[in-house]
């Protein structure tokens, strides 16, 4: 009826909506509402239902992603104007975000129930944040990119402060919020410049204008730089990383896991959209920019990680440095014929890193539940009384360190391959910096392994660790993925073929 009214007013034609393409988003939106409603009507002791429902809807949303992937073929233009697109690139990432969201639900179940947190609201926020991420993967327009980004960020600010009686958690939330909003402002400023230059919010239109030629080069450079900085906050690239360690340490552990994996991946999705779709021709600007960010991020992240005494802070800095490795191929995306390998490397890295890091957090959740301490020394002697947990953690840490035959090695390999493919001074120099950093990184992963395998139990308390069923499930998923991606990396490297994204250029 609205449409007909509008049609009467002007020459408005309703967009042809491809509901199949939008199905994952719709399922999530429905889930969001259902969880919110159910939360109103269930008794306190049954609040766990909200968690189960949230997990159910996350998995439910994977279904249409699978059907869309199976049908495959053309790029689906969900709203008929090329601003919201479903292609293989976005499908892979949608699946990644939904599954990561599901694992976070698994990790949250016990934590939320035992900690006396608001449960229903938590899962509503989690679902909204995941919905924002899922939308971001398809957005091909400045407005929808920005809306999706805020959609995924704002719930995350609140989730970071979810331990509301804990000062550190409050600090985490506030810090994340203030810096996040600041980053959004910077990003928005960059977007406004892009729009001003191109007179269009559509990414492909902008790509045609940002060529670093003509009389507005200065503005173009500024726009590119601001847009990148906006996302650099999101992926906690040095020097925009300062929020990350405090936020990670203060937030509830499942939220930390979520932030360090899904939220970071979302930032990279944004960067990919910028580098590949918005200003591919501005290579001269974004390459040195991202090159410096990548080098600084991995080096700083690593060096600071070496000194950490708290395991969550350790993983926070490790995740910063991993971000540097993911940035590395992105910086070289426009050089030589590295575009394809670089995109593939980033995608592969994101998928493998997600599995591995979520697994590591699952272990930390299981262990700290017993030790009630985040100190690295509280992992001492874990091998003597919890060998299974120790071996799993060793697998995750070795994967993060990039030791074959675990997933991480292939992720790192892809990144190196892409920059060497790009070649030239930029490519080779970042490859060497990366190689040196890869070794520094192993030092702190090994440090944690040493704690578990070789150090004595700190307080002599060797009661076995009981891993809750949901955490066990999360461990099974992430563990299998970590090993499988390492032994048969072909499974994951199918994703991120350049042609998958190329569909978007044509629109």
């Amino acid at each position: 009826m609205l449409a007909s009214l509008l049609a009467a007013v002007g020459d408005f034609t309703p967009p042809t909506v491809d509901f199949h393409a939008l199905a994952p988003e719709i399922v999530l939106a429905v889930g969001l509402v259902v969880v919110l409603l159910v939360d109103l009507f269930v008794a306190d002791h049954r609040r766990w239902i909200t968690g189960t429902l949230a997990g159910f809807f996350m998995l439910g949303a994977v279904l249409p992603v699978v059907t869309l992937a199976v049908i495959g073929g053309d790029v689906r233009d969900a709203l008929g104007d090329g601003r919201y697109v479903v292609d293989n690139f976005s499908l892979v990432l949608k699946a990644l975000f939904l599954l990561a969201g599901y694992v976070v639900v698994l990790l949250s179940t016990n934590e939320m129930e035992e900690g006396g947190y608001y449960q229903g609201e938590y899962y509503v926020l989690l679902l909204s944040s995941v919905l924002g991420m899922v939308m971001l993967t398809s957005s091909r327009d400045l407005i929808s990119v920005f809306v999706a980004l805020e959609f995924l960020s704002i719930p995350a600010y609140m989730m970071a402060a979810w331990k509301k009686r804990d000062r550190k958690s409050n600090e985490a939330g506030v810090k994340y919020y203030l810096l996040g909003v600041f980053a959004s402002a910077v990003l928005l400023y960059g977007f406004s410049l892009l729009y001003g230059l191109a007179n269009s919010t559509k990414l492909v239109d902008i790509a045609g204008v940002i060529t670093l030629e003509g009389d507005k080069v200065g503005v173009q450079v500024l726009a590119v730089a601001f847009a990148i900085i906006g996302f650099a906050f999101k992926i906690s690239a040095v020097p925009f990383h300062t929020w990350a360690p405090d936020t990670y340490e203060g937030a509830p552990l499942p939220v930390t896991a979520f932030l360090s994996v899904a939220s970071k991946a979302a930032g990279f999705v944004g960067l990919i959209a910028l580098v590949y779709l918005t200003f591919p021709a501005a290579e001269e600007v974004y390459r040195p920019f991202l090159w410096v960010l990548a080098a600084a991020t991995m080096t700083m992240g690593n060096l600071v990680a070496l000194k950490q005494k708290n395991v969550v802070r350790l993983l926070a800095y490790s995740s910063i440095s991993q971000g540097g490795f993911i940035l590395m191929p992105l910086a070289m995306a426009g050089t030589g014929d590295a575009a394809g390998p670089a995109l593939r490397a980033v995608m592969t890295y994101l998928v493998i890193y997600a599995a591995t890091n979520l697994g590591a957090f699952a272990i930390i959740i299981a262990v700290t539940r017993k030790t009630r301490s985040g100190d690295i020394s509280s992992f001492g002697g874990l091998f003597s009384y919890a060998p299974g947990v120790t071996v799993m953690m060793t697998i995750f840490l070795a994967s993060l360190a990039g030791i074959p035959p675990l997933g991480g090695w292939y992720a790192k390999f892809g990144a190196f391959r892409a920059v060497v493919d790009a070649g030239g001074g930029w490519g080779y120099s970042i490859a060497v910096i990366g190689a040196i950093n890869a070794v520094i990184a192993t030092a702190y992963y090994i440090m944690l392994m040493r704690e578990m395998w070789m150090k004595p139990v700190p307080d002599g308390d060797t009661t076995p660790i009981k891993v809750q069923a949901p955490v066990m499930a999360a461990l099974a998923i992430t563990g299998v993925c970590t090993v499988l991606f390492g032994v048969l990396p072909g499974l994951v490297s199918k994703f991120g073929d350049i042609t998958d994204l190329a569909g978007a250029f044509g629109l």
Binding site: R344, F383, S384, P387, T394, A398, A401, I403, P404, P405, W409, Y410, F413, G414, F416, R417, V420, D421, G423, Y428, A431, V432, A435, I436, A438, V439, T442, A443, I446, M449, R450, W453, M454, L488, P489, G490, S493, K494
Partner: protein
């Protein structure tokens, strides 16, 4: 290449993992079942290895056999390609033999803090990594197997090692990791460069064959840089001077089993990498690098020997002798001649057998005396005559006595370095005759030093009367006699005295070689003699492959 029985090598490589999978389901407390399954797996693996030898076509030792190639990581052009030729075969089978023997030895020698389940699992995982490295015919596959051994060895040293194990294991890990990171970058660079040079870039892949065909075409300066990355990766593993500093620490702190595997197999991964990858793929760079390698090798020989003379700990001494022996191997490789590389490959196996044996003895001595300090050990021949004789035999083998295996690694290497690859008309040029001849003379001095430190070690530990603190512990009359004669002399040993008395109560009587040790050691001892007397057994297998390999230099 011969594509017969394609399943055979995969079976040999992955069978240990099947054992691991079974062992995961056995409770930790059921120690004898755990050990039984592990030893059985290792035995089955060796059986596969022996069957492989039987099926191996000895007349075609120069070409790859049991060759298989399969898709693996298609997007990066890495394939699952494995094959076995005469160069790999001895090392492949050696890794299986050593693993089995080490396991048998471990039956009643599980080092503190126990937990045989984890210990045996780590050894089986190591076995897969080692065997896989020797059969891999794809650079990425090689890299993966090469790295698989890293973590198990790290844990073996770090958990079951000596006093200073955490430091030693970390050092081992970081050194190796540093080497392999640069190595990986150079592998990728080599791939990208050959791909860009190729007429048909789409045909590029990571198989050894591709690099054999295209590596020589890489521009010389680029090749020299790529070689540098590989050089560091492999040289750390060998280890060559000046990258060797992790080795004495790792060996001294590692449990006996770890030391044996490390010395016998893991070090060979580095030298094997030079022979199989760095040199044939980039011959133009190899010729430029050979003098550097040779000089470092000879420094290693002399430095290792001098290091040995300065050691007070028996195990550390053996570790330093490894640096010297691997120096001979590298010297052989650096000549780029058939003779030199043959000698190097022989030396690798011989060093594996002999130094492995020496580490076994060191472990058993440590177990009995609770110390390896040379000045506290005396009169082993009186107290444990069999052990003493075995030590003597192994020391003789190690110093390169003709008639034992060690000789055939060292002597031909020296011969080869007198006549290195030479001649300006060769496709990639020759090597400096003068330099290599000078190096030969210095290296020959190294053999004299080797005799000195080994005989001196033997003299100090095996001859004479048992020292006072252990004198009463002998199982037979000799030791009792020693006790009577020197009972009073104990007061002279001010520092050892208090220790000695404190330990005294804990010591069990010192017994000679036990049955597990006999089972584990006899095959090694026999092999040392057999290969010493009939070196042709091994040279026959290695030579065709080496001849094939050296053709690339156009030399002899």
């Amino acid at each position: 290449m011969i594509q017969n029985q394609q399943w055979l090598l995969s079976l040999g490589v992955f069978l240990p993992l099947v054992g691991v999978a079974v062992m995961l389901f056995i409770p930790k407390s059921d120690e004898s079942t755990v050990k039984g399954v592990a030893v059985l797996t290792a035995a089955a693996t060796l059986a596969v290895g022996i069957y492989t030898m039987v099926q191996f076509d000895w007349d075609k030792a120069g070409s790859l056999q049991f060759f298989t190639t399969n898709k693996w990581i298609t997007p990066i052009k890495a394939t699952y390609t494995i094959g076995l030729d005469g160069i790999s075969l001895p090392l492949y089978v050696l890794s299986m033999i050593i693993t089995l023997l080490v396991m048998i030895y471990s039956w009643d020698h599980v080092p503190s803090p126990g937990n045989p389940k984890a210990f045996f699992i780590l050894m089986l995982v190591l076995q897969t990594g080692m065997a896989g490295t020797f059969v891999a015919q794809d650079l990425i596959l090689f890299f993966v197997f090469f790295e698989v051994v890293l973590l198990p060895m790290y844990f073996m040293i770090g958990v079951w090692g000596g006093e200073n194990r955490q430091y030693a294991s970390l050092k081992f890990f970081l050194y190796t990791m540093f080497g392999s990171a640069l190595m990986l970058v150079s592998f990728i660079a080599l791939f990208v460069v050959t791909k860009n040079n190729a007429a048909d870039p789409d045909a590029a892949n990571f198989s050894f064959q591709w690099f054999m065909e295209n590596g020589a075409g890489v521009a010389k300066n680029t090749a020299i840089w790529i070689f540098a990355g590989m050089f560091i990766g492999f040289a750390v593993k060998v280890p060559m001077f000046p990258f060797h500093t992790w080795l004495p620490d790792a060996h001294t702190q590692a449990p006996t089993q770890g030391s044996v595997i490390l010395a016998a197999i893991l070090l060979k991964l580095g030298t094997y990498g030079f022979v199989r990858i760095a040199i044939p793929f980039l011959p133009q760079a190899a010729v430029k690098w050979a003098p550097v390698i040779a000089v470092l090798a000879v420094i290693g020989i002399i430095y290792g020997a001098l290091g040995c003379l300065a050691q007070t700990d028996m195990k550390r001494l053996i570790a330093f002798s490894s640096v010297a022996h691997m120096g001979f191997v590298m010297l052989g490789i650096s000549t780029l001649t058939t003779l030199g590389i043959n000698a190097a490959l022989f030396g690798m196996v011989a060093h594996g057998l002999i130094t492995g044996m020496l580490f076994f003895i060191a472990g058993s001595v440590k177990e009995r005396y609770h110390t390896l300090e040379i000045k506290r050990l005396r009169g082993m021949l009186l107290q444990m005559p069999k052990m003493g004789w075995i030590l003597g035999f192994s020391a003789m083998a190690s110093l390169g006595l003709p008639g034992l295996a060690g000789f055939w690694g060292e002597f031909p290497a020296l011969l080869a370095s007198w006549n290195p690859l030479n001649g300006a008309d060769l496709p990639f040029g020759g090597l400096s005759l003068t330099l290599f001849r000078v190096l030969t003379i210095i290296a020959a001095l190294g053999t004299v030093l080797a005799a000195a430190y080994l005989l001196w070690l033997y003299q100090r530990t095996a001859f004479g009367e048992p020292s006072a603190e252990f004198a009463g512990l002998g199982a037979d009359g000799h030791a009792a006699h020693g006790h009577d004669a020197h009972g009073h002399g104990a007061a002279d040993h001010g520092d050892a005295d208090s220790d000695g008395h404190a330990d005294h109560g804990d010591h069990e009587p010192i017994h000679d070689v036990n049955k597990f040790e006999w089972v584990a050691w006899t095959p090694l001892l026999i092999a040392i003699v057999v290969f010493g007397v009939v070196p042709q057994l091994m040279f026959k297998v290695i030579d065709p492959g080496v001849t094939e390999l050296v053709k690339v230099f156009g030399g002899k």
